[in-house]
Amino acid sequence: MPYEKILTRNVGVPGSTSLKAYQAAGGYEGARKALAMKPDELVELVKKANLRGRGGAGFPAGVKWSFLPPNRDVTYLCVNADESEPPTFCNRVLMESDPHMLLEGILIAGYATRTTIAYIYMRGEFTEQFHIMQRAVDEAYAAGYFGRNVLGSGYDIECYIHRGAGAYVCGEETGLIESLEGKRGWPRIKPPFPAVEGLFRKPTVVNNVETLACLPHILTRGVDWWLALGPKGSHGTKMYCVSGPVKRPGCYEAPLGISTRELIYGPDFGGGMRDGMKVKACSPGGLSMGFLRGDLFPKNPSADKLDLAQDYDELDCKLDFDDTRRYGLLGLGTAAAVVVGEDTDIRDVLVNVARFYAHESCGQCTQCREGTGWMYKIAQRIRAGAGRRYDLDLLAEITTNMGMMPGLSICGLPDGAAWPIRTLVQRFRREFERHIDAQAPGAVEQAIRRVNPAAYELPIVQGRAVAPERGSMSYEHEWSNAAGT
């Protein structure tokens, strides 16, 4: 059944980016309605709609706005358009096809939070999208939707586009704030939360592009309409992305709660796999949320009982905020699925995933910087044919010892790094082990000798080859220890 297109109604429609076209379709009606209300009423309305953030964390937008301190002169709104989570591209599609929908959302959210300046933080690689958005901003200013005394309501708001320059952590809300202040995008320790002390040390709201684009529709069509979409706790419509070797990669809209299988095989969505391939793995919520097994594996015979310990097909996972957790994923994330076909070596996937996080970790927190680096090295070792069975346990151990969940890091990047790697190792362990068992005998030793011939000639202290240098500080200590044991 095709679902109604709300956010994606203008995808592929020529001329849809102009203000005239947007207004002809009833554009800025929601903003007019909002400006007639009191800001606090508007916050209550969004709270009632239970609009959960589309940026990854799923935090209700209305609740976030209500954390702002009551007495404030300056409030900033940062629009998170730094879409860098592979393989997510729904914000790009939205800005390309309907820039004014985002601007109207900004105006509504800005009025509700009494924002003085809104910054759209757009990643540097969005070039075409920057020009489209900038033109839309210029048009909106000229029509009086931004600037002083918006539509005669006495409310003033400025809106600027700020271009990033290529860094995944700048998508994290405090990293984004630091980057906007003209520093390196190093996330800040929370608390204080941005709502209290954010951009330029003033109360700040950070929201995702898609979250804001939902606002005009909630206002024009009402909260009840919104609450009727999707399952309980995950209301509304969502832009799903699907990419990889499917027939129709792209961005498709549906209410929250469709299944991963529908996203891959549905004729209105991915349209099935190329060349009749089967799905080996699928990461349904963006890379950071973890991987599911595909239909290459047999179906679970007791369909109503979930058994993650067995190698069963898991594509029935529903894409909403709760069911994804039931399947051991980190959450819904950005609802961007990447499909791995049966012809792909799972070791290549592991290396690619580990490389991404090793490259993007900003380096402030030890377990994140070192953990992601080591996982990349271990993944490369396994792919190079020098893996050991306990490397898999080592990976599992590293993933449980990094991130915000154990409380070790400043931002959520290491959680996002741990989840895909842990789920890959858990769910494809038997395949990894097959590869490791098929290695030639002595492969590990040969590989290590190639890299570090000393490793087998020198004593090993605490798992490390020691190359003593006479007179060095550690010489006496380490050498005597090694000799003693």
């Binding site: 879409e83 860098s84 989570e85 592979p86 393989p87 997510t88 591209f89 914000n91 790009r92 300046i117 990643r123 540097g124 690689e125 969005f126 070039t127 075409e128 920057f130 020009h131 489209i132 900038q134 033109r135 210029d138 400025e158 600027y160 700020h162 271009r163 990033g164 320059a165 290529g166 860094a167 995944y168 980057s179 906007l180 202040e181 003209g182 520093k183 390196r184 995008g185 330029f200 992305c241 990419s243 990889g244 070797p245 990669p249 792209g250 961005c251 990461s283 890379l287 961007a336 990447v338 791995v340 076909g341 792909t344 290549d348 996937v349 690619n352 995933v353 490389r355 991404f356 993007e360």
Partner: protein, 187 residues
Amino acid sequence: MSWQAVDRTRVPEEQLGPGLSEAVKEKIRAFFSRYPTKQAAVLPALHIAQDALGYVSLRAMKELAELLEIPPSKVMDVVTFYTHFWTHPKGRKTLLLCRSISCELLGAGKLKDAIRQRLGIGEHETTPDGEYSFMTEECLAACDHAPCLMVNEKMHKCVRPEDLERILADADNDRLDIPRSDLFDAP
């Protein structure tokens, strides 16, 4: 490429590279009114400087620091954090290849080999005629068109290795055919 140690406290005047023209500085000053601090304009300023010079030279960093009233080390701090900025000269056009998962699943690796073979350069290197530089980057948020290759501002979609010749032969392979904002120049 190997590391080169540079003592930046004693770089001879002639090795500082090109500086910013008054027109470029004026363009940067136009961004000041957008932010409560001048430092916040550093990212737009660096974009504009790189558009004008092709890269961010040491002299440009110094001049930006003066313009934004921050120490030069802070400008360098920012320049080296973001992958978009080059600290050595780059070619007229930059080939930016996505290396993340969707693109790699659909053959970005083969495309990378083809580019390196065809142009004879590795990552962060420039062809001898100064036309092309090459780098890879994580997901460019165009995974539905994987594998994707950007030439300056223009995104080429679903590029297979055999398409490379055609793209390189086209002199306008970096032109965006949409109305452009003049806040930033094409690099």
